[in-house]
């Protein structure tokens, strides 16, 4: 089989789809608040990958700019989210997602 030096961009997209679904699965099966949060980050990264791929395909810098903004938002979200996790942990002394089921803190 001739090894082409080039990679079809669709592969990148498929990788991002698989990563995204792994993130969703992580959200579903993980029982720790922090790992659930990590799964969300994983989903965000998967989407970022597809953005970059599309930007490459269309030679358009806007896709990359969007990734840049996603990163900014993700950073802010991580800071606030982790602060919330700390507050939840203080109030309930647990990180188990299933224990935090009263829709209130």
């Amino acid at each position: 089989m001739h090894l082409s030096p080039e990679v079809p961009l669709v592969w990148y997209l498929l990788l991002s789809a698989v990563l995204f679904c792994l993130g969703v699965v992580g959200f579903l099966i993980k029982r720790n608040l922090i790992t659930v949060f990590m799964s969300i980050e994983l989903m965000l990264n998967a989407v970022n990958l597809s953005f970059v791929t599309f930007a490459h395909q269309w030679h358009d810098v806007k896709g990359q700019i969007f990734v840049f903004f996603v990163m900014v938002v993700a950073a802010a979200e991580a800071a606030v989210g982790l602060a919330i996790i700390i507050a939840v942990f203080r109030a309930r002394a647990t990180l188990a997602v299933d224990r935090i089921d009263l829709m209130k803190l």
Partner: protein, 635 residues
């Protein structure tokens, strides 16, 4: 168009006063509230005075208000001789009554609220008068109704006051309904509501008489009977006396209730073309004048006497309109504004002196205790009774003369008017004797004169009541002729003097009877003795309220109670409510299973939703023949 007179300032100033006092008044000190409230009508009055020197008529348009298809209504204010006189009366008398109110309402908790409402009333009333088209007039018309409702029910903690407010509002609705139908008829037949356009269109069509015009005129007149308390819709006005006395003076004597007269005069070009409508106006006017005067004979509440007197005098004005003597009607409107405002304010001063007592049987002997009130009241009583060369002498005489000059029906109406003049003198002097003469009949007799803020307006109004007639005597018709036309059948000299003499004689007779019965200590019962049935009939105001109660209110209540409450409310609405509640709780019971509070199950359902959405968005591309084009098509 000549230079702008800034007519918009006239309604706007009171509106600003209303906003300031209405929104902030609760927190402002009383002095500031009074200053705002007084400056508003004073400013308007000055603007009117400045504007009065300009060439009339003057109209100002402030752009388009409503544009729907062919219908085009502008926001137009018109200042002509007619609206000028109305504005002078409204803002001038209004300002005096504002001053009076400062003293009268001084200790009331709702001081700021009272002045806010009063300014609101002035805003709507000036809008009504300045309006260049019937729809804008209707806005003012409804607005003064609202202000009237708010002020009648001002002491809303008192059930009778809030009931009276509702009664005024509901009875006025009936009249407004007629007014609205009249507007629709105008719109359907002429396609415009602007007074000047209507006048032109009707003038351009000289053969057009009766028919549609009669219908329009009668509908408008129904509106006028509501607002101006004529038969059969007068019932709200006597009850409106539940409001504070200055309100009765301003709204229910001097200005708002004359809006009907103003409206008829404003649309006189319609009435002129319909002899039938004119006759109806004249007959209703004369009948109301007589009817209300007879009731006024036996009332014991000082304000109710004045209220029936107002109804009666308004009847005079409509009698004047009905015989096409519009300028005489407006003349009487003006003098009436002076002396009736004075009567009410003086009565308010009396009530103030008596510590809130309104029953004349408990008054008496106030002549020495409240001398200024006494003298100003005397001027007003003389004026309304048609004492020679006082204001009503000229204006009432003008109406009676015009009635006499207008055919055989007019002769009868003239006679009714003459009798009413005698009755008027009688009940006014009865009030005068009962209040100021004899010995005090109240027990806690620490009566005192009112403060100067109340006496000042009394004095000014007394001067106007005495001399007001000279403003217009002989000149009024000519002044108003650009607006109202010059249709006046002048009486010949000698006949006119005979008429005057007869009117004065009728007044003198009324005074004489009152003197005999109430001053020379022949008790009122003496009148009642020979005709107890008649006395009772009058005492109970011809049972009109009871009659309306029986034929309108009772059936409505019964219908509401048995049909609406049981069938509509309980069975239909209640059943529906139960059904809806059942559906809601059932679906809630099912749906609450989703609300486990478990985040991961939420996420699972969310993922399912995302999958379904993605499927529907992408299905045609993914599973159909078409290929997927993402991104920019150009590449």
């Amino acid at each position: 168009m000549n230079e702008s007179l800034h007519l918009w300032l006239i309604p706007l100033l009171p509106f600003i006063g209303f906003l300031l006092n209405g929104l902030l008044g609760r927190r402002l000190p009383k002095a500031v509230v009074s200053a705002i409230a007084l400056l508003a009508p004073l400013g308007s009055f000055l603007v009117v005075l400045l504007a009065s020197r300009a060439a009339l008529p003057h109209s100002e348009s402030y752009g388009n208000w409503i544009t729907v298809g062919p219908l085009n209504i502008d926001l137009t204010f018109v200042l002509d001789q007619l609206s000028l006189i109305m504005l002078l009366v409204i803002t001038g008398v209004g300002f005096l009554i504002h001053i009076y109110s400062v003293g009268y309402m001084h200790d009331d908790e709702g001081y700021w609220r009272y002045f806010a409402y009063l300014n609101l009333f002035l805003f709507f009333m000036t809008t009504l008068v300045l309006a260049g088209n019937a729809l804008l007039m209707f806005v003012g018309w409804e607005g003064v109704g609202l202000a009237s409702y708010l002020l009648i029910g001002f002491w809303f903690q008192k059930k009778s006051a809030s009931d009276a407010g509702k009664k005024a509002f509901i009875v006025n609705r009936i009249g407004d309904f007629g007014f609205l139908i009249g507007l629709f008829l105008l719109l359907a037949n002429f396609g415009t509501l602007s007074f000047s356009d209507l006048a032109q269109k009707i003038a351009a069509n000289p053969t057009m008489t009766g028919g549609v015009l009669t219908a329009i005129a009668l509908c408008l007149f129904i509106g006028a009977t509501g607002k101006s308390a004529q038969l059969p819709l007068y019932v709200w006005l006597p009850d409106a006396m539940e409001g504070p006395t200055p309100v009765s003076a301003l709204i229910h004597a001097a200005t708002m209730v004359t809006a009907g007269v103003y409206m008829v005069a404003r649309t006189h070009f319609i009435f002129d073309r319909s002899p039938l409508a004119l006759s109806v106006v004249a007959i209703i006017g004369a009948a109301t004048a007589l009817f209300a005067a007879t009731i006024g004979l036996v009332q014991t509440d000082i304000k109710r006497v004045l209220a029936y007197s107002t109804v009666s005098q308004l009847g005079y004005m409509f009698l004047g309109c009905g015989v096409a003597a519009y300028s005489a009607a407006i003349f009487h409107l003006m003098t009436h504004a002076f002396f009736k405002a004075l009567l009410f304010l003086a009565a308010g001063s009396v009530i103030h002196a008596m510590g809130g007592e309104q029953d004349m049987r408990k008054m008496g002997g106030l002549r020495t205790k409240t001398p200024i009130t006494f003298w100003t009241m005397t001027m007003a009583v003389l004026a309304i009774s048609g004492f020679p060369f006082m204001s009503a002498f000229f204006s009432k005489d003008a109406i009676l003369a015009a009635a006499f000059a207008s055919g055989s029906l007019g002769k009868l109406l003239w006679f009714v008017g003459l009798v009413t003049a005698g009755l008027t003198a009688f009940y006014m002097f009865r009030l005068w004797y009962l209040t100021f003469f004899g010995e005090t009949r109240s027990h806690d007799a620490h009566s005192h004169e009112s403060p100067w803020s109340m006496l000042g307006p009394l004095a000014i109004l007394a001067v106007l009541s005495v001399g007001g007639g000279w403003i217009g005597a002989g000149r009024f018709g000519a002044f108003l002729s650009p607006v109202l036309g010059t249709k006046t059948e002048e009486l010949t000299g000698s006949l006119e003097y005979i008429m005057m003499a007869l009117a004065v004689a009728a007044g003198a007779l009324g005074w004489f009877l009152a003197h005999r019965m109430y001053h020379q200590r022949s008790a009122a019962a003496q009148l009642a003795a020979p005709a107890p049935a008649g006395y009772n009939l009058l005492q109970n105001k011809y049972y009109v309220d009871e009659f309306y109660n029986l034929i309108v209110v009772k059936p409505l209540l019964t219908l509401s109670k048995y049909f609406l409450e049981w069938v509509v409310d309980f069975a239909i609405l209640g059943g529906l409510a139960w059904l809806l509640a059942g559906i809601a709780s059932l679906s809630g019971a099912i749906l609450q299973r989703w609300q486990s509070g478990n985040i991961r199950s939420y996420a699972a359902w969310l993922a399912l939703g995302a999958a379904v959405l993605l499927y529907f968005v992408l299905a045609p591309h993914v599973f159909g023949a078409a290929s997927l084009h993402l991104g920019m098509a150009g590449h």
